[in-house]
Symmetry: C3
Subunit: 316 residues, 3 copies
């Protein structure tokens, strides 16, 4: 089955639901677009007119601060109109199906649907049911994928370490529940990261088949050795059963990134985190707020990456 993301007739991306099948050239093209948009924005902070007349719909079935706001700002700074769809107050409460909602909004000439849903595959499902030229962007589905986060992480790394082939990148934390980890792995493998390591408590680690090309390192201290980039994951407290983690303190003791542990990595190692942070749970404040931290830079880069995705998908 060809993923709906890839148009058959051209190399332009049709939807963005996952990074899994995206060729490196496509990913790099998006990162280059983001870079051009960032330079233009930083020059004069003027809104662009590229999406004038277009409508972007935020369909968030899970709450979100940064991702929703990031897409909202990306769309507005490209001149688009944004509809923030309040799910709780919507007709889904009158029993309308997700597909009928999609077709209704398509019929109103909406151009892009940014979808977050707790169920894996929702964005792909919607992408297959789009009837017209509208595109679907996955803003996070269950623990499956969060492709714009994967792209912005790759973008952030590239700005500091342009040669992926010599990098050692460590992803650490609650990988089992993390759509960010999955999209990061797809992006970084495709872009040819030299050594991609994952580290997680045994019960927060998915099956090895779900971690293609990754080196699994059980002990956090060993995993940190020589790392160029560390991506710490949020402990998804809201998705975990009580039993999986004995206590936040115990978790921090074994898997929290503090100043001592950071010294095990390379001295110029980048520290990343998709946010929001659980301070003193997976990461020490001293590390999160240190000069090596790229966490807020990731947030800023995210806006440009989403601008790049919107312009690519809408063909401008």
């Amino acid at each position: 089955m060809t993923p709906s993301d890839l148009s058959n007739t051209s190399r332009r991306l049709r939807h963005l639901t996952s990074l899994e099948h995206l060729p490196a050239a496509q990913i790099l093209r998006l990162l280059d677009r983001a870079e051009a948009l960032q330079q233009q924005w930083l020059r004069d902070r003027r809104k662009l007119d590229l999406l004038h007349g277009r409508t972007v719909v935020n369909l968030f079935f899970e709450s979100s601060t940064r991702t929703r706001t990031s897409f909202d700002l990306a769309a507005k700074r490209l001149g688009a109109d944004v509809i923030n769809f309040d799910i709780a107050n919507s007709s889904t409460s009158k029993g309308e199906s997700l597909i009928d909602t999609l077709h209704t909004l398509e019929a109103m000439y909406c151009d892009a649907f940014v979808v977050r849903h707790k169920v894996n595959g929702t964005a792909e499902f919607l992408a297959r049911h789009v009837r017209g030229p509208a595109c679907v962007i996955n803003a996070g589905d269950g623990n499956n994928a969060h492709p714009t986060q994967g792209l912005l992480d790759a973008y952030t790394i590239r700005r500091h370490r342009p040669d992926f082939s010599i990098l050692r990148v460590l992803i650490c934390g609650d990988i089992l529940h993390s759509r960010v980890a999955r999209s990061d792995i797809h992006a970084l493998r495709t872009l040819g990261v030299g050594n991609l390591r994952v580290c997680a408590p045994a019960n927060l680690l998915p099956a090895e088949t779900e971690l293609p090309g990754c080196e699994i390192v059980e002990d956090f201290d060993s995993a940190l050795d020589g790392a160029d980039v560390i991506i710490m994951l949020r402990l998804q407290k809201e998705r975990m059963q009580q039993a999986q983690v004995p206590s936040e303190q115990a978790y921090y003791a074994r898997y929290g990134l503090d100043a001592r542990r950071l010294r095990l990595a390379r001295p110029d190692c980048l520290v990343m985190h998709p946010g929001p942070l659980n301070r003193e749970v997976e990461i020490a404040s001293a590390v999160a707020d240190s000069a090596q931290s790229c966490i807020l830079e990731q947030v800023g880069n995210g806006v440009f990456v989403r601008m790049a995705v919107l312009t690519e998908l809408l063909g401008v």
Copy 2:
């Protein structure tokens, strides 16, 4: 009592709270406006500048997907700013009256109020209390009126069947609770539909005096005979007492529009529904999604009809 909709000094519409007293010329003028706006939009999908500097306030006291989004898009595509008034979080929770809220927003130089409320007459009530030049648009009040839906239904029919006088139009379903049915009847009678039929279970049918000019047909199969247009209504489950409808299955058996029944109408009969659909309750999916269905076209037309109403009321 002169309805507040009609200005005494000019033929321009002042408010739009009902279609009941609107002359045919006025309705046709709105449909012509919608047509011109639609052609312009489809040409290049550029936003218009007609309402630049104007503010449209969505005052929705009942939840809504399509109507609120449709007005939101209509206003934005005309260049207006939109305030979506979150009723639950508003000062009405501090005990401010609806009229004080209206006057407060008027004092902030808001130009148009789009009002949905479960109480019949709310939009007309607000229209009578407007102090300045602002206009009020009824987006649905109780079971009384939904004038922009009536207009968009007339608009949709006219695009396919321009001569109303020879048409047989059937409205079927929960007419008792339906503001859509009332506004459709006002529009279609005024525009001279040759034969206007209604069909509903006895306990979902209002008094005959509320159905002026309509032929009431009890049996759905008989009602379908020779119909050019069928408007199926949503079963307003949220407004009905348990007892009125024995079961959804029983309702579907007697009043659901399925493929067999559709064949009783004319072969080119249009199928319409205001949405959201209760699939397999009042309409079969096979019918709702068929080539004869105009349901999604209605949705799209609604945006242009609302653009027409906004420009007419705001005098541009």
Copy 3:
């Protein structure tokens, strides 16, 4: 400690968290700006382009009608984009701290934060934690300050009575819980109001040290004598313990402004109220809706005052 509002290097205001330390020249400059913006707006009601490309974030942790909408309109009419941050659905529910939320939004190149919070000092707290050039505007913190309300009240008075030195201004009502009263007192003292009186039930009156330069008058009838301006305050029912006010009727009998009492003031006395009104609790409808009432004018002026604050703080 230098308040964060005042930049050390220039006279331009950096944040607006309180009027307490603002020199008269600064306040007058804001009022003059508001006047120029009002004149421009009333000329042609065209949006301005001054804040094109800028983003204003409404961070309301308390519900609000007029203040939030007023800031929303002010920002949009200056050409800014507005993000209305839905606190209930935000990452604060995932445990993110207020400061992390601030830094996240700053990292997305947001320019101004309009903050309302029930805790005194929240806006000042955020202003001290801003890292970049963004500014913070206090839209109400606990019972501490509501500086744009203080400015719009001063603005409204100045339009009618430009010489503050000869004015007798009475503030009456629930002063204890009122951030409006505190900001009004700061503004009006700084602008040199000749006689500033306060009147409140003993248990709704703060310590005398909190009312610098004010004459405290216990009896409402005496307090009204010769007043040029009366600012009635909202009875903050949601903030009071049951016991403080025996009943709304008893309160109205002693502290409600009705037509008889209004005659004790000067015949051309202005009646003001920050809204929303508790009609027949602190003010009679006959007075609130009379020709002497400036209540709706205050609302309208508020938009221009907030436009002035936004342009001043953002340096345009």
